[in-house]
């Protein structure tokens, strides 16, 4: 009897695809290293080694904590503000129709240019980074929530009324489950953009944080540091997005099953 290799290792498996893509990525990276040399970028293996020693230093964690704290605050503010605004604009048709294209326009504007304004209002430091993260993350969350509320099937609301649900019951058993899938999508997009905002904030005019480490590595010709921190940040972003994407898919499957 021949033993079949496990399904995930076969030519058709997901994991196989992932391994091939990862291998391609490492090959391109190695190629860049061969082309540019140690002055511009470190090799994948050296970066991995340096990154694993970096995460054992207190200095790295001091900066990572600064970034995570700013990111956490801006994400919470983005979600609360975004969902609240989205609910209001979704429930009030006219206000929603007025606001939506304006929000889309704001979304496509280079918000980096607004950073000096935020620095002048909040001063250098945590609150400026948080504010900058929020202006990046809040708009997609508003837009997704707005559309979720706008597209609620009116039959659901009428049924809730027929069944004489209390307002609280209506929200918890009808409205919340109906908007949840799109809301999670909004939060996923908001998550990525908030992180982008915080990191850009740290790369310009900041003395702490992972964004600062990246830009400082370049100024001090410490390419090893820059490459390793980029690897850590990007890995974190991909893993976090993967988790949210997984929740997102489960939500849609749940909504479709009802």
């Amino acid at each position: 009897m021949t033993t079949q290799p496990p399904a995930w290792l076969t030519l058709g498996g997901r994991a196989f695809d992932g391994v091939v893509i990862l291998a391609l990525f490492v090959a391109v990276w190695q190629g860049l290293y061969a082309y540019a040399g140690d002055a511009a970028i470190t090799s994948p293996l050296a970066t991995l080694a340096y990154a694993s020693s970096l995460v054992q230093t207190a200095n790295f964690w001091a900066n990572a904590d600064a970034t995570l704290l700013a990111f956490f605050y801006s994400l919470v503010i983005s979600i609360v503000l975004g969902v609240a605004l989205g609910l209001v604009l979704g429930a009030r048709r006219f206000a929603g129709d007025v606001a939506e294209p304006m929000l889309v326009a704001l979304y496509t504007v280079p918000k980096v240019t607004l950073y000096p304004l935020i620095l002048l209002i909040f001063g250098l430091g945590l609150s400026a980074k948080v504010a900058f993260g929020v202006i990046h993350g809040v708009i997609p969350i508003v837009l997704f929530t707005l559309n979720a509320v706008k597209n609620i099937n009116p039959v659901l609301l009428r049924t809730a009324r027929v069944m004489r649900l209390t307002p609280w019951q209506t929200v918890s058993t009808v409205l919340a489950p109906a908007v949840m899938p799109e809301l999670i999508t909004g939060v996923r997009v908001g998550f990525s953009l908030t992180m982008l905002g915080v990191l850009i904030g740290e790369m310009f005019a900041s003395q702490r944080g992972l964004g600062f480490l990246i830009i400082n590595g370049i100024s001090l010709h410490n390419v090893r540091m820059t490459t390793a921190v980029i690897l850590i940040v990007v890995t974190f972003a991909i893993v976090a997005n993967g988790l949210l994407l997984w929740v997102d898919k489960r939500m849609y499957r749940g909504a479709a099953g009802v």
């Binding site: 326009a105 280079p110 972003a237």
Partner: protein
Amino acid sequence: MSRQAAIGWTRVAVIVGFLAALEILCRMKVINPLTLIPPSEMAMALWGLFVSGKIWDDIAQTFSTVALAFVFSVTVGFALGALIHALPRVRRAVDPLLASYYSIPFFVFYPLLIALFGLNTVPLIVIGFVFATAAMVISTLNGLDRVPRVMTKTARILRLSPAQAVMQVTLPSAAPYLFTGLKLALAYSFIGVIAGEFILSGGGLGFSIAYAYNEFDNQTMYALMMFVLVIATVMNGALHVWEQRLLKRRTRA
């Protein structure tokens, strides 16, 4: 007054009201003039920059960089999209990659690009390109996915050559999605280039804003900020209007 017109006018009123409130608050010194200057002063300062000619070099540099990033991202994005569409096996492998593409904070690569290519416009073009291409790939895939089967079958029945089928059936049918791709690619190349200039560069509008900030030159800084925001809004608005017109023509036909 129709509902559409009411919405439009309310929008105008919101913007005008916002600018007026800002103007009054700044003039009454409720807002510290060291923090924010009145919109009218921004406009005057901007006019001054145009008259003195200081702004033209920045405009030329930024827009030529954006144009290059845009053209590269649209051509490469479209070609990649068409290629991936033709190869279902590859597509299944890249789909998760495309889905999480924009979760990667690409600007962290910008310093590395400077180390690789030097402090010139190449890293800016690359960052704009990297930021914009995936949007074009995704839109191309969307468009090609939604070409109705009836149309491709009709093309076959009419014995169109492959080139004819692409020019007369596939492309016109996918056009709205391709247009969305163009729109996103333009917005993203603009954001990418300006952000790169802002973080670290030797010229361009983003650089001049950061420079003015460091020099405490609020007049120039706010004038340039206003210019960038107005240009981006006008650009997006114009494309939106054009898109609506294309769509209207389709539904009539």
